[in-house]
């Protein structure tokens, strides 16, 4: 047991955790999780870019059929929700619990708003006969169908993340109201915020790829 002696210099450089919550560790875990989310989407982005390379012309033409207005509005909605998310954390850190609750509620509302707009957009498109395997796409060259397959897959997966994010933020909202997340112990809200911002970042890239190629 020669090693277990206690030189002063070596003391208390680490071994965080059990008595107090390891805030840094929780954030680190969240960041690592965000990396996996990023890589999850990157598989789709890779497919998209390869297909775009194979069917450049078709992708350009197909993108004419997406509704740029819906896309732009949704981008702004999501960016604003990111703002309210960040504001909510600041408010909590400054001890303004109810201001934080207000901001967080608006984030959730904006997230749901995004989903509603997305729903309207999808139904418009499906109504116009644009969906994978539709007779309308069948008349166009091959790349068309791939473009819309990618479109539905990627925006769908992103929408699913928005939905999960809304659920997560709702739990955080309840925690704040119940006093489980406080000014002193706000790391869970911060982690949830990180997740929400990542969803935003993914949309920032989806937007030009599907709405702005014409």
């Amino acid at each position: 047991m020669s090693e277990i002696s206690l030189p002063e210099s070596a003391k208390h450089t680490g071994h965080a955790g059990h008595p107090k919550k390891d805030v840094h560790g929780i954030k680190m875990g969240m960041w690592l999780f965000l990396m996996t989310e990023l890589l999850l989407f990157s598989g789709m982005f890779l497919l998209y870019s390869a297909y775009r390379y194979f069917y450049t012309k078709e992708f350009h033409e197909a993108a004419m059929y997406t509704h740029t207005l819906f896309g732009t509005v949704n981008t702004m909605v999501l960016l604003t929700s990111s703002l309210t998310m960040a504001l909510s954390i600041t408010a909590l850190e400054r001890g303004k619990k109810w201001l934080s609750v207000t901001f967080l509620s608006s984030t959730i509302a904006l997230g749901l708003g995004f989903l509603v707009i997305k729903y309207v957009e999808w139904s418009t498109e499906i109504h116009e006969g644009i969906y994978p395997g539709s007779p309308m796409l069948f008349k166009h060259p091959r790349g068309f169908e791939l473009f819309f397959a990618m479109y539905y897959l990627m925006t769908g997966l992103h929408g699913l993340h928005v939905l999960v994010g809304c659920g997560l933020l709702t739990v955080m909202l309840i925690f704040i109201i119940k006093g489980k997340i406080t000014q002193e112990d706000s790391v869970r809200l911060e982690a949830a915020g990180l997740y929400w911002h990542l969803i935003d970042i993914i949309w920032i890239f989806l937007f030009p790829l599907f709405y702005l190629v014409n």
Binding site: H24, L32, F54, S82, H197, I201, F207, L212
Partner: protein, 100 residues
């Protein structure tokens, strides 16, 4: 080393003002992307749009997600993710680009 940084970084400027400023910048950039798409710049349209997306996302990562104020290790994480992503894209395109 990140071990020493047990206490949270309280020095981060988490003022409302900066966030609103960044938000305004993001909105402006979105507007620019939409407008640029209207002008026909052929192949450059996408390049410009993606560059703007890159600027926007780095604003979000650095300010909203606090990476600018956080520990070095988080910057390394972001770099690792970016590095692996570019490797995967580069090597896949070694096939896709030269495919007959």
């Amino acid at each position: 080393m990140e071990q020493q940084t047990l206490t949270e970084h309280k020095g981060a400027p988490t003022s409302y003002g900066i966030y609103v400023l960044i938000w305004l910048a993001l909105m402006a950039l979105t507007a620019i992307t939409a407008v640029v798409a209207g002008i026909n710049l052929a192949a450059f349209t996408l390049v410009i749009a993606l560059l703007i997306a890159l600027v926007k996302s780095s604003l979000v990562v650095n300010v909203f997600m606090h990476v600018k104020y956080e520990d070095k290790i988080f910057k390394i994480f972001v770099a690792i993710a970016g590095g692996v992503l570019s490797v995967i894209f580069l090597l896949t395109f070694a096939d896709v680009y030269f495919r007959r």
